[in-house]
């Protein structure tokens, strides 16, 4: 393959979620030329995902319509002539020295060189493994929300939502307003823990008010809320036909004999989030352990510059924070990058920095409230697959740990966990929890899987390998999942 000269831009932004869009609009208004890349067909990211059929007007469930509207206002900024939005485009590699991104879209492979790169890759939802968690009909809570928000589609009739944190309650209200039956909302925190931790939010009456308003709606609709419980099993042969929940002790350990069964067709899970940090880690950007959310994220200074010159990060990639944080950080990062290139951004950066710190403080309080509990690892009995792609069981993982494995990278050669096509995005965080539970090491000492390019599987020829016929393309013709270069 003859290397082609890369395209060029002043500021390249990976991700068209709230952070990336805010960064792009800010930098373009300052006069910079900006290229925004997103793997999805449409901009908006997770929170500001827009309906594909309509403008999300009054026919939408009330609680969704306002978010859709807010998102639309932000996204309108993308029509600025200084912004080149490239959807369906995966940034699969990054070179820190030359500030070059390798791109792949249905039109083929390209490279893009920028003077500044802002990484706004968002986050992934987290689930814990339990018997039956791979059955069709077990979905992430956000995946259920996306069907509703983007497609006006209810992915089931009778739902059970399980996990911990505010997203579950929000998703439950949205599903209800759309006409779903909710058999139960299963929250890991006990009622007392829930109320005690809500008290930490007293300084943020807005958040507290929103939280209680959501809860109130669920109570009014008589949705059974099972505090201090967890999902313990999904029932069904080829798809979900029921769920078993269990009470947990203070460590999250399920209490035998406390099983309750529900007839449901859909189970929605959310046990928090993991920041998407593959590209920053490939670039060599320093990572830090976010104590509030107990996850690794990308470190930056107050100007949102990472440890690598020319690369900035904003939004969830640099730590869980929610949509409001993402927008403020996007504005700040766009502003800083534009100013470094000699433009005059429209924002007072000091004002933005203050707003950012306040919003981050609220997010930190929320994170502390809803951390995972180590006892949940007991749900992954030895025969339950932890790595969904390679079907590596919890038993195999525990055996490897007994043989001395203490880091995820050491697990790969032992078990193949994390070597499948999701590249450890779904199991990585939970494997860290299992290693911590088995070894007694603090979570902060257990590193995520090493990130390698390509960040998602791409056809071999994209990375310079032999060209395969598309009609015979298999996973072995992809790099990044089952493929070569992943050892």
């Amino acid at each position: 393959m003859i290397p082609r000269k890369p395209d060029t831009t002043e500021i390249a932004i990976v991700g068209a979620g709230p952070a990336g869009v805010a960064a792009a609009v800010t930098a373009a208004r300052a006069g910079a030329s900006v290229t925004v890349l997103d793997e999805y067909a449409r901009p908006g990211g997770q929170y500001y995902k827009q309906p594909v059929h309509t403008d999300g007007g009054p026919s939408y469930p009330h609680s969704l319509a306002s978010t859709i509207q807010q998102g639309r206002e932000l996204l309108e900024g993308l029509s600025h002539p200084g912004i080149d939005l490239q959807c369906n485009t995966l940034a699969w590699n990054i070179s820190a020295d030359e500030l070059v991104l390798d791109l792949y879209s249905p039109a083929g492979a390209r490279a893009l060189q920028a003077q500044r790169i802002i990484l706004c890759a968002g986050a992934t939802e987290r689930a814990v493994p339990f018997p039956g968690w791979t059955l069709p009909g077990v979905i992430m809570a956000g995946a259920g929300q996306l069907m509703l928000k983007a497609h006006g589609l209810l992915p089931g009739k009778t739902f059970l939502l399980a996990g911990t944190g505010p997203l579950l309650q929000l998703a439950a209200v949205q599903l209800l307003e759309a006409g779903a039956q909710i058999a139960a909302l299963v929250e890991l925190r006990s009622r007392t823990e829930f109320l005690k931790s809500a008290a930490h939010l007293w300084r943020y009456p807005d958040k507290l008010g929103q939280g209680f308003a959501t809860l109130q709606k669920l109570l009014q609709a008589r949705v059974p809320i099972k505090f201090g419980h967890t999902i313990a099993q999904a029932l069904g042969e080829t798809e979900v036909s029921g769920a078993v929940i269990m009470r947990v002790d203070g460590d999250g350990q399920p209490i035998p004999g406390s099983e309750t069964r529900f007839e449901v067709d859909t189970i929605c899970l959310n046990y928090g989030f993991t920041p998407a940090t593959e590209l920053p880690r490939i670039a060599g950007c320093e990572q830090y352990f976010d104590q509030d959310y107990a996850t690794y994220a990308t470190a930056t200074n107050d100007s949102l510059e990472t440890s690598i010159a020319g690369i900035l990060a904003a939004g969830e990639t640099r730590g869980m924070g929610g949509a409001e944080v993402a927008v403020i950080e996007g504005q700040l990062a766009g502003s800083v990058a534009a100013q470094q290139l000699g433009f005059s951004p429209p924002f007072d950066q000091n004002g933005l920095s203050d707003k950012r710190l306040q919003a981050r403080a609220v997010a930190a309080s929320l994170g502390k409230m809803f951390q995972l509990k180590p006892g949940l690892c007991a749900l992954a009995a030895d025969d339950v697959p932890v790595c969904r792609c390679e079907e590596v069981s919890a038993g195999e993982v525990r055996a490897a740990i007994r043989n001395g494995v203490v880091q995820l990278n050491q697990l790969k050669p032992w078990t193949r966990a994390g070597m499948g096509r999701c590249q450890g995005r779904i199991c990585g965080d939970i494997l860290r929890q299992i290693v911590a539970a088995e070894t007694g090491l603090p979570l902060s000492e257990i590193q995520p899987f090493t990130a390698r390019a390509p960040v998602k599987p791409v056809p071999l020829e994209v990375v310079g390998g032999p060209v395969a016929e598309t009609d015979t393309l298999t996973w072995e013709d992809h790099v990044g999942g089952y493929g070569v270069a992943r050892t």
């Binding site: 069709p136 992430m140 497609h151 589609l153 209810l154 089931g156 009739k157 999701c422």
Partner: protein
């Protein structure tokens, strides 16, 4: 289990696609996964080792459990790929 299209929400122009040889109705702009769920097809792929059924899970292109062969191209994530009129989808591998 069929996913329900919420009746009061306006939906897009109807398009049809061929799934495992059968014609199904979808709406322009929606993802192939949405069309499959609305047609009652929850199993989209199978695990390569155990052959256990897998379906729509993360909804955001991360888990690769919703992959199907689309117009001859295998391993396409149906949750982030929009339907095109007449597209041919083979599930279950």
């Amino acid at each position: 289990m069929k996913a329900q299209r919420i009746s009061k929400i306006e939906h897009g122009t109807p398009v049809s696609l061929i799934v495992n040889g059968q014609e199904i109705q979808a709406q322009a702009g929606e993802s192939i996964a949405a069309a499959l769920l609305a047609a009652g097809q929850r199993q989209i792929s199978q695990n390569s080792k155990s052959r256990a059924p897998r379906g729509y899970f993360c909804g955001m292109g991360m888990c690769f459990e919703c992959v199907a062969t689309v117009d001859g191209v295998p391993n396409v994530r149906t949750c982030i790929t929009e339907v095109t009129p007449g597209c041919v989808v083979e599930t279950g591998s």
